[in-house]
């Protein structure tokens, strides 16, 4: 064992505080009233307004049309996050399966073509994508929100590398055991990829959850509002002498943090379990 060095610990503690304090501050501030925050600044102590704030944030109808609640936004964000994660996993697994296990011409070229798109961020192709969706009449739909972003170079790349590491004999044994391409995929590859799937799920869920620009473009109907847009719109009421509802913005921010944290905690456990359990 190494000797415990107080100085090292000090640095660790400071680092932890540095990262956690803002979150804690947001949580605490969300339990005070907007006026309180406006006049006294941020809080590190709990206030007494938690109940009304969170109830209001979750259930009160807001927005211009007045029919979007926090719950609705939470649901939309959930749909985005899960839709992205699941869709990307399914699609990129199948793409990687085709690339690795089927011998077709130009497979390498196709792979590198997919791979180079990794370098292009969404923003580069956001206008053409919007154009396509608008022509297809898919604005203001979940399909339009999710499907255009499902193709995932990252996911395809990771699954391809993983499939390549699966020993050939496993495929051969499965062929002798009478498993065709579909059976092999479902019975052998999918269960073996659990760890990879968990990892990609975490990344993609958070990617989908945090989408801001894309839903902003794709949806004008407020029933498609996500939490990210909700937070923004609360702070936008900076007109006249109106005080923005800081407490509500903080409450939404706290709410917006809970599902990603939950996903990381749940899947990380699976992830670590998968890592230590699997041996090929």
């Amino acid at each position: 064992m190494q000797k415990i060095k107080p100085f090292d610990h000090l640095i660790l503690i400071l680092g932890t505080l540095f990262l956690c304090l803002p979150v804690f501050m947001a949580l605490m501030s969300s339990t005070h009233t907007a006026i309180d925050i406006h006049s006294n600044g941020l809080f590190l102590t709990p206030g007494d307004n938690a109940g009304p704030t969170y109830t209001k944030v979750l259930t009160a109808r807001g927005g211009f049309t007045g029919d979007v609640t926090g719950l609705r936004m939470l649901m939309n964000s959930m749909i985005m996050g899960i839709g992205f994660a699941v869709g990307k996993i399914v699609l990129s697994m199948m793409a990687a399966y085709a690339l690795v296990y089927f011998r077709f011409r130009f497979a390498t070229v196709i792979f590198w073509a997919i791979f180079t798109t990794l370098l292009l961020p969404l923003e580069v192709r956001i206008m053409p994508s919007y154009q396509v969706m608008s022509t297809l009449g898919l604005l203001n739909t979940y399909t339009g929100l999710i499907v255009p972003l499902l193709a995932s170079a990252t996911g395809t790349f990771f699954f391809r590398q993983f499939f390549k590491s699966v020993p050939d004999e496993l495929l051969e044994a499965a062929r002798i055991d009478g498993a065709g391409p579909v059976k092999f995929f479902i019975d052998i590859l999918v269960p073996l990829s659990r760890t990879m799937m968990a990892a990609i799920f975490i990344i993609m869920f958070i990617y989908g959850w945090n989408q801001y620009l894309w839903p902003l473009l794709m949806t004008t109907d407020e029933t498609f509002y996500t939490l990210m847009r909700g937070i923004k719109s609360i702070l936008q009421v900076w007109v006249g002498s109106q005080i923005p509802d800081y407490n509500e913005a903080f409450a939404l921010a706290v709410l917006a943090m809970v599902p990603p944290v939950a996903v990381v905690v749940i899947f990380q456990r699976m992830f670590i379990k998968g890592l230590t359990e699997s041996d090929k």
């Binding site: 020993p167 004999e169 496993l170 051969e172 044994a173 499965a174 062929r175 002798i176 055991d177 009478g178 498993a179 059976k183 019975d187 052998i188 269960p191 073996l192 659990r194 359990e277 699997s278 041996d279 090929k280």
Partner: protein
């Protein structure tokens, strides 16, 4: 259960590599055939063509009476055991064995019965609910065999199934495989590069070299009558001594030393002498001793004769000088044509000798 037949089977890989050329083998029902040869000689390729994992470029592979060239592996009624076991890591032992049967649509009761039978035979009962990673190498190999057995195939194919195991376990697994195969009476094709494994397991050996069959025969036949220099040097340990010699007037000569009578045409030959067929004598071929390997029960004397290396397996305990004289056991010498490397039949020579005495 079925006989297997390979008719002028050949394999040319995409790069133009002729991995297997013109192989003809008839395998009787229930026979245990071992394919043996050095690394890269095409053993795995041949086996995989029978399994259907590699396409057949020339000739026909028959299992039973069907030509199976174009059939999927699963439809060939074979089972294969791989060197690295190739167990499904996410399935427990029971499911690993049952998977092929499930895919064939066997009923639950049939599957349960066959798995139970195989696991009893292989003493796998305590491990049925474990995942492969929780098993030792030997146990994994038994599961792999169990997976083959439950299918009750026409033939077992083994590709170096024991080479990942330690020496001791290999010997006991070898015995187990042989017993199991006898008991089930299933035709088997077994690939190994270990000539000892080949000798002990096989009903018949197929010695491959560079994609061609060098010799097919029972282990002892191959040992006593190697068909070529290659087989002679490959089968037997320590390896047979191969010495440049010549035949003159019906005698084999090494340098100026007369070894044995040989009723064959005069000219250069390769003389094959197994170390265990040589013994120390007071007169005979002089060998300059270089070093001695003590093995306990016997010792291997390495030396040089007429500028060529030679090894003698000696079980006497006599003192060794700088030079020893060795004699070959009569009738235990092998002659090979120098140019083709093929065996020269000495049966005639033996009868000639008998007449002379």
């Amino acid at each position: 259960m079925a006989h297997l037949s390979l008719t002028s089977v050949g394999k040319t890989y995409a790069g133009g590599v002729d991995a297997v050329r013109d192989v003809n083998i008839e395998i009787a029902d229930g026979e245990f055939i071992v394919l043996v040869g050095p690394s890269g000689c095409g053993k795995s390729t041949l086996l995989r063509m029978v399994a259907g994992l590699e396409s057949v470029t020339h000739g026909d592979v028959r299992i039973g009476d069907r030509v199976v060239n174009r059939l999927e592996p699963a439809d060939r009624d074979i089972a294969m055991v791989f060197q690295n076991y190739a167990l499904y890591p996410h399935m427990n032992v029971r499911d690993n064995m049952a998977y092929g049967l499930k895919n064939r649509g066997e009923t639950k009761s049939v599957i349960a019965e066959r798995v139970a039978e195989a696991s009893r035979m292989l003493e796998l009962d305590p491990y049925l609910d474990r995942k492969p990673r929780a098993l030792s190498g030997g146990q994994r190999q038994r599961v792999a065999m169990g997976r083959a057995i439950v299918r009750q195939p026409a033939a077992f194919l083994f590709d170096e199934p024991l080479s990942n195991l330690d020496a001791k376990l290999r010997v006991s697994m070898r015995g187990e495989i042989r017993r199991l195969q006898r008991r089930l009476g299933t035709t088997s094709l077994y690939v190994t590069h270990d000539q000892l494994e080949a000798m002990t397991l096989a009903d018949r050996l197929v010695v491959l070299n560079g994609g061609r069959v060098e010799q097919i025969g029972a282990p002892l036949e191959v040992y006593h009558k190697p068909a070529s220099v290659f087989v002679a040097s490959f089968i037997g340990s320590p390896a047979m001594n191969l010495i440049d010699a010549r035949v003159e007037a019906g005698r084999v000569l090494v340098g100026s030393h007369d070894i044995a009578p040989a009723a064959t045409d005069a000219g250069p030959v390769t003389l094959g002498l197994r170390p265990e067929d040589l013994s120390l004598a007071s007169t005979g071929l002089p060998v300059a001793v270089e070093h001695v390997e003590e093995l306990g029960a016997q010792r291997i004397i390495h030396g040089e004769v007429a500028g060529q290396p030679i090894a003698i397996a000696d079980s006497s305990a006599s003192e060794l000088g700088e030079t020893v004289h060795v004699a070959a056991t009569p009738g235990k010498i092998h002659l090979f044509a120098r140019d083709t490397g093929r065996r020269i039949d000495l049966a005639a020579a033996a009868t000639g000798l008998a007449h002379a005495v």
